[in-house]
Structure formats: C-alpha cells, structure tokens
C-alpha cells in the first residue's frame, strides 16, 4: 500500500522528458518532488505561468508570484508569464502534454467527478473542467476508497461530473489502472504487498486483471 508520497512517486515515472505538465492541488503537487534527474519538464500553473519552480526561501516570498493553489512559488530560468486567456488557450489547444489531478470519483468510461458534493458548500470547479475537457493525457491521483470506505472507481459516477470520458489512467494507494477505451479499469500494477483480490474488493467498477499483475517498482 502506498502513502501519498508513494502515489506521487509512482506517477512521476509517467512523466517523459520534454513534457509540459499541469499539476493539480493535493497529491499531484507532490509529483514535482519526484521527477527524475535528467527528465526535463516544464510545469504549468494555470493562473499564468510556465516554468514553475520550488517554493521561495523564507523571506523571499513575492505576493505577485503564486501558483494556481495561491501558494507563493518561484520561477525557473526560461519561464514565461501570460494572462488567463492564453493560459487556458494553451490548455484547450492541447499544448500541455500531461495533466495530473485529484478526484472524488472516476467511472469505468473515464468520467470524473471532483468538484461538487450536493448538500455541501460548493467552492467551484476552478480550472478543472477546462483541464479535463482538453488535456490529451490525464492521470488521476487519488485514494482508492473514500472516508466512508466506498470505492471511488465506479461503474458510473454518483456525484456531479467534472468531465466525461476523459481519464486515461489512475494511480491510487492500491495500484495503477488504465481506463480502457471500451470501458472498465485495467489493473496494470499492484502496490507493494497488495493482492489483486484486495484491489478487486475495493473496486466497484468493472476490473480487468491478468493472472500475473506485476507489483510496482516505486522510486
């Protein structure tokens, strides 16, 4: 079973040299810490920055320089700043190679719900609907089950949707899954020490697993 950093570490392996990547809030943010040496990646922050760097040193925070999570950040050499229209323009035009974001639910056909729980205060979708509707490659980073113990990999989403038929891959504390074009979750890798049966029990949607699903190698 992986912890949050383990999920982030595993996802980092999906990032290829030369990728422009948008990281959502939460576990996705952690992915930046595990991008391998020698893999050149540019992080986009959808408030208007390409080339996001690490947090600033104490005392060097710049209120004019934040990321989409409103955190103070830095820029790397070669970064560029642009307005919100261009930022979402490049997202819509699929110039961003990979989007990694969290989810409350993902369905067998790649629908995602991650912005609204009926009856609870709704904060808004921010840029999530734009990202999931446009990105050519989306990986969801999330816990496999919710706090009530219910699976978040479902036959169909029960919560209001963020986007339809858009998620390609999911990494949870239990494993790595492809969302198949014909529908269903294909188990690609088991988290260390986790059996296919355990995963099957935690997955409400249709799960496809070969007999010899490998255990993942993290880090």
């Amino acid at each position: 079973m992986l912890d949050k950093n383990g999920i982030a570490k595993r996802i980092a392996k999906e990032i290829k040299d030369g990728y422009y990547v948008n990281l959502g809030i939460g576990i996705p943010t952690l992915v930046a810490n595990y991008i391998p040496e020698g893999v050149n990646v540019v992080l986009q922050s959808e408030n208007g920055l390409l080339g996001m760097g690490p947090f600033p040193f104490e005392g060097e925070e710049d209120p004019d320089l934040i990321n989409a999570g409103k955190q103070t950040i830095t820029t790397l050499p070669g970064s560029s700043i642009f307005d919100s229209a261009m930022s979402f323009g490049m997202i819509r035009a699929q110039k961003i190679d990979l989007t990694i974001l969290g989810a409350m639910e993902v369905s067998e056909n790649g629908d995602i719900a991650n912005w609204k729980i009926p009856g609870k205060m709704v904060k808004g979708m921010g840029g999530a609907m734009d990202l999931v509707a446009s990105a050519k490659n989306i990986i969801v980073a999330m816990q496999h089950v919710n706090k009530a113990g219910e699976s978040k990999l479902l036959p169909s989403c029960t919560l209001p949707l963020t986007g339809v038929n858009c998620i390609k891959k999911i990494v949870t504390e239990l494993g790595v899954f492809d969302v198949l074009p014909e529908g269903g979750f294909k188990l690609l890798e088991r988290a260390p020490g986790v059996s296919v049966d355990e995963i099957r029990k935690a997955t409400a949607g249709k799960l496809y697993a070969d007999d010899d699903v490998p255990e993942m190698v993290v880090g």
């Binding site: 104490e58 307005d83 205060m121 808004g124 979708m125 921010g126």
Partner: protein, 235 residues
C-alpha cells in the same frame, strides 16, 4: 496622446451605480484592485454583479464588499474560503454562478476581441452545459459560451502611463489584461504611474485604447493567501 489620468479611486469609480455589472481582476488575492475595492466599499454602491475569478477572503478583496452586502451576484470559478460568503449563499442573500476558469477568461477575451460567442469543451456533459448550445466540431463536443457584457472592468497593473498603457508584474497579470479589454469602461489602478514615453511599446500588455481611466494607487497590502516557503537548509 490621450490623457486618461484621474485623481484617485474615488474619482475613478464615481459613476458606478447600484445594480451594475463589474469585472474585477486578480486571481485569489494576487493582482486585485485594492484601491478601487476600498473606494467601492466607501461609496456603498450595492446590488452589484461581480465577475471575478474568486471572491476574496472574509476581510480582504471582494470579501470586504460581500461583508457590506454590496454584491447581489458573484460570477466566479472558485469562491474559496470565505465564511460570510458561505453564509449569504446558504441564506439565499447572494446568488452565485460558478463557471469554469478558462470559460471565464475566454468570455472576457471574447468581449475584448469583439467576438459575440466562443466554443469551449469545458463543461460538456456536466451541469455547466445545461441550457447551452452544444456543437460538434471534428468529432468533439463544445459548448457555445457568450461574451461577457460588463459595465465596468476594474484592474490592477504594476506600471501604467498617462495614456492608459499597462504592464503587469509576474503572475499578478492573470485575469487583469483580459478583463481590461472587456469592460465598457475600464478603470486601471497602478503601482507606478509614469509619463508617456517611459514604457517600452514592445512591453505593453494592455494598450491604452482599452483603458478609460487610470490612477496612481497607494498603500498596497498585497496580502499573501498561502505563504509557502522552504528553508535555506532544504536548498
């Protein structure tokens, strides 16, 4: 050159009246028009529809206007942490329209570029699509979204000249240039107001033609919403 300078925020917003639609630049608390917001609070104008990506926090930004019940409707993508906002929303005092961030930005762009509507895939198949025209291009579905129609756009820039040309600093640019283009009347407050000829024409983000009033702002707090740092040891 045409001189767009007004004395201060009070003068800049003097003709904003109850019930109008305002765009306010900024992302979170970054790049928000602090001076104009203060002046709007002072003026007490109410029943406003505010188009802004966020709604400030309880005691800063648009939150100050919310506290005074000046806002009838918020059009935003994310309304964040704001207890008074939540109270007004749940009690039905405040109307909120949540729209995707890119749709928000592009509807501003559409207004500034004279395009009555644009197409975006954001929200297709979700409740955002309800009542909207969906259209398929090259096998992909898009929603048709309309250009915004705002009485005023209020933006904050880093530098500006007397002709209304604006330059933004770092990620405080965000929605400011696209909203500056989108208002029927655009008001810009700047940290540094300079004479014409002081700004490089190649570096202008918002040409003065889009700006109707400009003034030298003062006392910028520039509050940080999420102060995240690393220690020098972490390196």
């Amino acid at each position: 050159m045409i001189n767009k300078v007004v004395a201060n925020a009070d003068e800049a917003i003097a003709d904003i009246t109850d019930g109008q639609t305002l765009m306010l630049g900024g992302f979170g608390l970054c790049g928000i028009p602090e001076n104009c917001i203060s002046a709007l609070v002072k003026k007490g104008v109410k029943d406003l529809t505010c188009i802004s990506n966020n709604a400030g926090v309880d005691d800063f930004g648009i939150g100050l206007m919310l506290k005074q019940r000046q806002v009838k409707k918020m059009i935003s993508s994310y309304v964040g942490e704001n207890a008074e906002f939540e109270r007004q929303l749940l009690s039905g005092e405040l109307e909120v329209e949540l729209i995707p961030q890119g749709t928000l930005a592009t509807r501003c762009l559409a207004a500034g570029y004279g395009m009555p509507a644009i197409f975006t895939p954001a929200g297709v198949g979700t409740e955002v699509a309800e009542g909207k025209e969906t259209r398929n291009f090259n096998g992909k579905d898009y929603l048709m979204e309309y250009a915004f129609d705002a009485d005023f756009a209020i933006v904050k820039a880093w530098k500006g000249d007397t002709a209304g040309n604006l330059i933004f600093r770092s990620t405080s640019r965000n929605f400011n240039p696209v909203m500056a283009m989108a208002g029927k009347i655009t008001i810009a407050e700047v940290e540094e107001l300079v004479e014409v000829g002081q700004l490089d024409p190649d570096h202008i983000h918002t040409p003065g033609v889009y700006v109707h009033r400009i003034f030298q702002g003062k006392d910028y707090e520039k509050r940080i919403e999420q102060r995240t740092v690393r220690s020098k040891e972490q390196g």
